[in-house]
């Protein structure tokens, strides 16, 4: 361990002998470690309640709560803290009992200062290692969850495509039947039948609903993985300009500012321009929807390894934390049915997975959302 880290060690020295404590503290300070001090087990526990500590050096023989009992409480309440026991010369059994109760190690008095410092460093090292291990575990759990999420979405995609296929056929029959009835009703022989208007209205409702249903099935089917997607060098910047062109009216109406922070060198990916355009269209129109008047959208690109990251950031209403895990699910929407099908982000996710890319999102309610699209720069399928 690097000596420079010594001053990061938060150490508490517990001993009822004032003189001993002072000497040890002074010597430790010379070596860069500045310990807190406590004269009893009670005081030690009081300090721990207020101050986070890494290592406690604990005398076993103290009036009041004994060192061993203090140790037990520490291990129960603060599992990360490492404890080094100080025992009297003859009390080796105390040390052994201490280790059984969870102490890192024990030293017999009189203590050699370098020995103590080494033990403190070792104990701190263990803490650091464990923290790292913990971080790695968390990272791995997060990665695993993301993989599961992605897999789940992909299988949902496959299933929804299948369902959409099957639904289109009966929809076509309903559509033809309604159209046929409408045609018959409109013919001259039917011109005088009673309640014709009511029948007509019913038929029109059927036709309208067929249109709505087929909008959904077509949206789901529009991005079936193509057998031969036409891949080429795609300039994200010009696709963004094109997409904004299509949304000009909304942007003007809401007076939205667009901040371009696109690096001219970092906006070419090897991908399918039609699908990317679809992704941009969905994400940008979401951003515009999320914004109030005078809001802004910030676009930036950067490079990570062989990928280009495009960031689309808005300062709109944001997404509540409880919704963040669901926004890529099919049919999840906070809008009413005539404003959105709840398929936009699902389709975005599906397209990007199909293109060996990905998408991440961070969002704070009231502050806005940030979507990060990742796309490969080169053709990965050919190595």
């Amino acid at each position: 361990m690097n000596r420079l880290d010594d001053d990061k060690i938060r150490l508490l020295l517990v001993d009822d002998e004032d003189g001993f404590r002072k000497i040890i503290t002074k010597r430790l300070a010379k070596r860069g470690i500045n310990p807190f001090q406590a004269a009893s087990g009670e005081e030690c526990l009081n300090i721990l309640e207020k101050e986070p500590m890494d290592v406690v050096v604990l005398d076993v023989k103290m009036p009041g709560i004994s060192g061993i009992d203090t140790l037990k409480v520490i291990k129960q309440e603060y599992e990360k803290i490492q404890v080094i026991l100080l025992t009297g010369n003859v009390a080796v059994t105390d040390g052994i009992e201490g280790i059984k109760s969870g102490a890192f190690d024990y030293l017999t008095k009189p203590v050699e200062i370098d020995h103590l410092v080494n033990k403190i460093r070792q104990a701190f090292e263990i803490i650091c290692l464990e923290e790292e291990k913990q971080k790695e575990l968390e990272y791995r759990a997060k990665l695993e969850k993301k993989m599961i999420d992605t897999e789940r979405l992909i299988s949902l995609g496959t299933m929804s495509t299948g369902i959409a296929h099957e639904i289109n056929n009966p929809l076509a029959i309903i559509n033809e039947s309604a159209g046929f009835m409408k045609y018959i009703l409109s013919s001259s022989e039917m011109s005088n039948i009673p309640r014709k208007d009511a029948l007509m209205m019913g038929i029109e409702k059927i036709e309208k609903s067929v249109k709505r249903a087929s909008l959904i099935t077509h949206q789901l089917l529009g991005h079936v993985k193509k057998q031969k997607s036409l891949l080429s060098n795609v300039d994200i910047l010009s696709l963004l300009h094109e997409t904004f062109g299509l949304m000009e009216k909304d942007i003007k109406d809401k007076q939205i500012n667009i901040n371009w922070e696109i690096d001219n060198e970092k906006n070419i990916v090897w991908s399918d321009p039609y699908q990317i355009r679809q992704v941009l269209m969905n994400l940008l129109s979401n951003a515009v929807h999320a914004l109030k008047e005078n809001g802004s959208i910030t676009l930036s690109t950067r490079e990570i390894d062989d990928d280009i990251i495009l960031e689309i950031k808005d300062n709109g209403v944001g997404i509540p934390r409880e919704n963040l895990g669901k926004i890529f699910d099919p049919f999840f929407t906070t809008k009413s049915f005539d404003e959105g099908t709840g398929l936009g982000l699902f389709v975005v996710h599906k397209i990007l997975s199909g293109l060996n890319g990905g998408i991440d999102v961070t969002s704070t309610v009231g502050k806005g959302s940030c979507f990060q699209i990742r796309l490969p720069k080169y053709d990965k399928s050919n190595g």
Binding site: H165, N169, L171, A172, N175, G179, F180, Y183, H218, L221
Partner: protein, 146 residues
């Protein structure tokens, strides 16, 4: 202008769809034949003169594309409009490269269907007319030889 009825053949394994679709086309003055598989379609074509075939791409057995290839080999002048429940229009485009006149997505708008049938019929008529003219010229030239 008086509408010239087109002789239409509808091919789809969805019988209810074929029935409703043909009723509607019939009402509008087209002459409709039906078939529920690619094989049936070829049988009908053998017996009945057809202008336009409306052909579902996804059928069990001989699929739409196979049927299309057969039709274009045996009756190259007959026009074919593909029907797809597929969102993926790739297959439909593939079909157009094989000689299909156009494609429609299910459920299709009836106005679109009518326009496409009409255009397909016109193209077939024009082609037939050109063939007649060419044959006529051939005949004239031959008679000129004497």
């Amino acid at each position: 202008m008086i509408k010239i009825p087109a002789k239409v053949l509808i091919v789809d394994d969805e019988k209810d769809f074929v029935e409703m679709f043909s009723l509607r086309l019939n009402e509008q003055g087209e002459k409709v034949s039906t078939a529920h598989s690619g094989k049936d379609a070829l049988k009908v074509l053998k017996k009945v003169a057809i202008d336009v075939v409306i052909l579902d791409i996804r059928m069990p057995g001989m699929d739409g594309i196979d049927t299309l290839k057969q039709i274009k080999t045996l009756y190259p002048i007959v026009e074919v409009i593909l029907l797809t429940g597929h969102g993926s229009t790739e297959t439909a485009v593939e079909g157009m490269k094989l000689g299909a006149f156009d494609y429609l997505m299910k459920p299709a708008d009836f106005k679109d269907i009518k326009i496409k049938i009409e255009n397909a019929r016109k193209r077939k008529d024009e082609q037939e007319e050109r063939i007649r003219q060419a044959e006529l010229r051939l005949l004239l030239r031959r008679s000129g030889d004497y």
